[in-house]
Each structure stands twice: as C-alpha cells, then as structure tokens.
Amino acid sequence: MIQALQVRTQPPRYRWRIVAGGGLLLAAVHTLLLHRLKLGDFTPDLYSVFALYLGLFASRQGRYVPSLALGLIRDFFSLGLLGSYGVLYSLLHKAAGRARGKLDPERPLNVFIMALGGTFLVNFGYHSMLALSGEGIGWSRALARCASVAAASAPPAVLLYPVAHYLLHKLRVGRSGGYWNI
C-alpha cells in the first residue's frame, strides 16, 4: 500500500522520451521497412499496437496527451490529413480504458483480442475519415483490409507487450495497480 502511494506521488518517468522515441522509431519502421516486406494487406499496424499499449498500461496522466502526441507524430510522416491519427488515438485510449475494465490485459488471449479490436477500429476510423473526404475505397473492401491489418497486428502485440513491460522494468519505471508511471 505504502509502495503504491509512493509510486503515485512520484513524477512520471520517461513519458515524453518514450512517446517521441517510440513514435519516431515506429514512423521510421512503417515508412522505410514494413512496405519492403511486401506483406500486402497483412502488414501489421505496429504504431496502433504501441498506442494501445499506452492506453492500456500508462498511468492516468500518461494516456490521453501522449496518445494524441503519438497520433500527431504519425500524421506528420503521412500524406493524410494532419490530426487524423491524433483524433483516432485519443479515442482509442478511451476505448482501451473501457476494455481494461472488462478484460485483464495481462493475459495473452485478452491482449490478442484487444489488439485485434483496437487496430481494427483505428483502421476503420481512418478509412471513415478518408470516405468523408471523398477518398474512400469502398466499405466492403475497407472492412476486409481492416480485418487483415488487425489479424496481422494482434500476434505481434502478444509478443511485444511483455517485451515493453520488461524494458520499462529495466528502466526502473514504477508500477502500481498494473499501470506504469509514465
């Protein structure tokens, strides 16, 4: 109890370094690497997986604004409207908060389900924005693509979340009630 109180009163650690570093690294991975693998529609959306991680495991203060910032970083490296991913990730952290109340995110199966749903919703939301600006590709095709991206993103999430936990533990970031103090 005392330890939990101590963690809560500590200032957040590495928040902006994790957001900026992770955002830039994943933007580089998406921009320069993933499209070379020629995975087609089954290209994983690792950026959304990372945004979901923040939504699920960051402390209360480390969710909304970092998710928004993460989305804006992605927007800066994309041709789409500035703010599209910013809006989507800020909504994703809300959805992640609700999902966390019902499913334990420490279980791999639950992580798989949440990553599947989260990446699907982000991609579907992005296509909805494209459709609003007259650039949609058709809803049936978009649904199929969102499902493919979600199916490709969920397995890496199951593998990457324990790695992220391990790295944060190594960085000596405090953890209370399952939330990292970032």
């Binding site: 921009t31 499209h35 928004l68 800066f76 703010g83 991609n123």
Partner: protein
C-alpha cells in the same frame, strides 16, 4: 458552481479530453482547405530529405594548400562516381522509355520534363502511398504536376519544398485521373469512340506492379484483356497519352463495368522519375480547346 469559475486554459483542455478531441477533429476538417497541415509536414520531412543527399561541411578555409588539393581531388572523384551512377540510372530509364513505345499515342509530344531521383519511398500510414524526390520549387516543380517514369504515369506532385517534393503515387486513395482504354490492334480507332473511365487509387498495400481499377466505365463498352489504359486530357490535369497499365479483366456490375488493370510500373523500385512541367489549364482555356475541337 466551482466548474463555472474555472478558467479556460490548456490545463482545462487536458482535463476534458473529449472537448479537445472535438476541437482537433474540427481543425482536421478545416485546416486542409488552408493547407496548413501540408506546410507543417514539409517542415518535419525536409530535414530528413536533405540529410539523404548532403555531405557534412568541413572547415575548408582552415586546410593547408596540399590538404585543399587532396580534398578537391577527393571531391571530384566522388562527383565523378555519383555522375557515373546517375548516368547509369538515366540510361536504364531511357531503355525503359524505348521499351514502352507502343501504338500511336506514344508518339504524342509531352511537356518538358525535370529529371529527379527518388530519395525515399513510403508513408507511415498503411493506407497512403507517397515518395519523396530531390527536386523542388527552385527547379520549377509545382503542385499538381504529373510525375512519370519514361511514359508511364507514377503520380502527381502533392507538396513542394525548395529542393524536394512529395509525390502522391497512383495507388494512393486520394489519387484520381481520367483515362482512356485503347485497343493496340486498332490504333486508327476514332478518338471519340474510345472507352473512358476514372482511375482511382485503392491504397493497395502491394505497390509491386499493383492491380488498379478503372471506375465509371459504361456498360456495353468493348473492353478486352490486353487493351492499353492511358491518361486522358479531359480534366486537363494530365497530358494525353501517358501509359497507366494493361487491362486484365472486365467485370459487369450494376450500371457500370469494373475494369481491373495491371500497372506498367513496379512502384516499389522507382529510382529516377521525371516531373512533367504540365499545368492544368484555366477554365477559359479549357473552354477554348473544347470549342476548337468542335
């Protein structure tokens, strides 16, 4: 009561994320009209693009005479090798251009072109497709200009900086272009009877000889596999006769024909492209052209 006394500050927005999200959403819709987003993105992208093609500066003035000579010699050697590789790339592009020579449309005159090298491909979103080239406003590139490799359409200029520009590839969902379907076995076909359609990018995640689709093709139009798809100058955005791809199949749908085509170019391996100095004519000029045709 306490809430009504709260001052509207950044901290207030941070405590009310949904309000801030709604404002951001509104800005997302309004800002594209002012192209603020594109300008901001250029600020982020350009240092990356510059870093690709620049060598760090050295204190040239501080060097001795011998060191300067050695330095100049090394610089000229580097320049020679880069010119040789550029020459090889251009020779390859010229070969591609010759290989693409086909029916009569390929003989039509194209606007003057600016050669450019693709600095890097890719986009952080899975849905968008773009690449960056090392030519910009200083070299005469401006928004909306068509980008080709040989005579094959690649995309159009989307954002321009002083020395770099962003190209929206034809697989991007925001890309649209009026096209004609021509029969290579019947080059003397009456231009008025050629089949027309609109090419739209579908964000295809596989830019390796992507499969594209032509929309709004009238039912009953004679479309056979093997026919060429070329750009139409109907909207004035692209010149007539740029190659796009080859028809693979035509599927009848309710009220229109869905034409699937295979692109001529592997967009993932682009190295040298040409920016055509073609500007969309004003409305009055388009009207005059139409009257002359009639």
């Amino acid at each position: 009561m306490r809430g009504s006394q709260e001052k509207l500050s950044l901290a207030w927005f941070l405590r009310h994320p949904l309000v801030a999200t709604c404002i951001l959403l509104a800005l997302t819709i309004v800002l594209p009209y002012l192209r603020v987003g594109e300008r901001l993105k250029l600020l982020t992208f350009l240092p990356l693009a510059r870093a690709q093609g620049q060598v760090g500066g050295s204190a040239y003035e501080e060097l001795s005479e011998d060191e300067r000579v050695r330095f100049d010699l090394q610089r000229e050697r580097d320049r020679n090798s880069s010119l040789a590789s550029e020459n090889a790339r251009l020779a390859r592009a010229l070969l591609d251009l010759k290989a693409l020579g086909g029916p009569d449309f390929a003989a039509s005159q194209l606007p003057p072109a600016i050669n450019a090298q693709v600095v890097f491909h890719g986009d952080s979103s899975n849905w968008r497709h773009s690449c960056w080239i090392n030519r910009g406003r200083k070299q005469g590139v401006s928004d909306g200009m068509p980008v080709v490799a040989g005579r094959t359409l690649i995309g159009r200029i989307f954002m321009v900086g002083d020395d770099h520009a962003c190209v929206q590839l034809l697989t991007d969902p925001g890309f649209a272009c009026s096209c004609l379907i021509v029969d290579p076995d019947n080059p003397q076909q009456d231009p008025e009877s050629r089949v027309r359609g609109v090419l739209r990018g579908d964000g295809s995640a596989m830019p390796h000889f992507p499969r594209l689709e032509l929309e709004d093709v009238a039912v009953g139009a004679e479309v056979k596999p093997g026919m060429y798809v070329i750009t139409n100058d109907y909207s004035g955005q692209f010149p007539l006769g740029l190659a796009v791809g080859v028809v693979r199949e035509a599927i009848p749908q309710a009220g229109f024909l869905q034409v699937r085509i295979e692109a001529n170019m592997d967009l993932a391996t682009l190295e040298v492209v040409q920016v055509l100095q073609h500007r969309r004519p004003e409305l009055e000029q388009q009207a005059l052209q139409l009257m002359r045709k009639k």
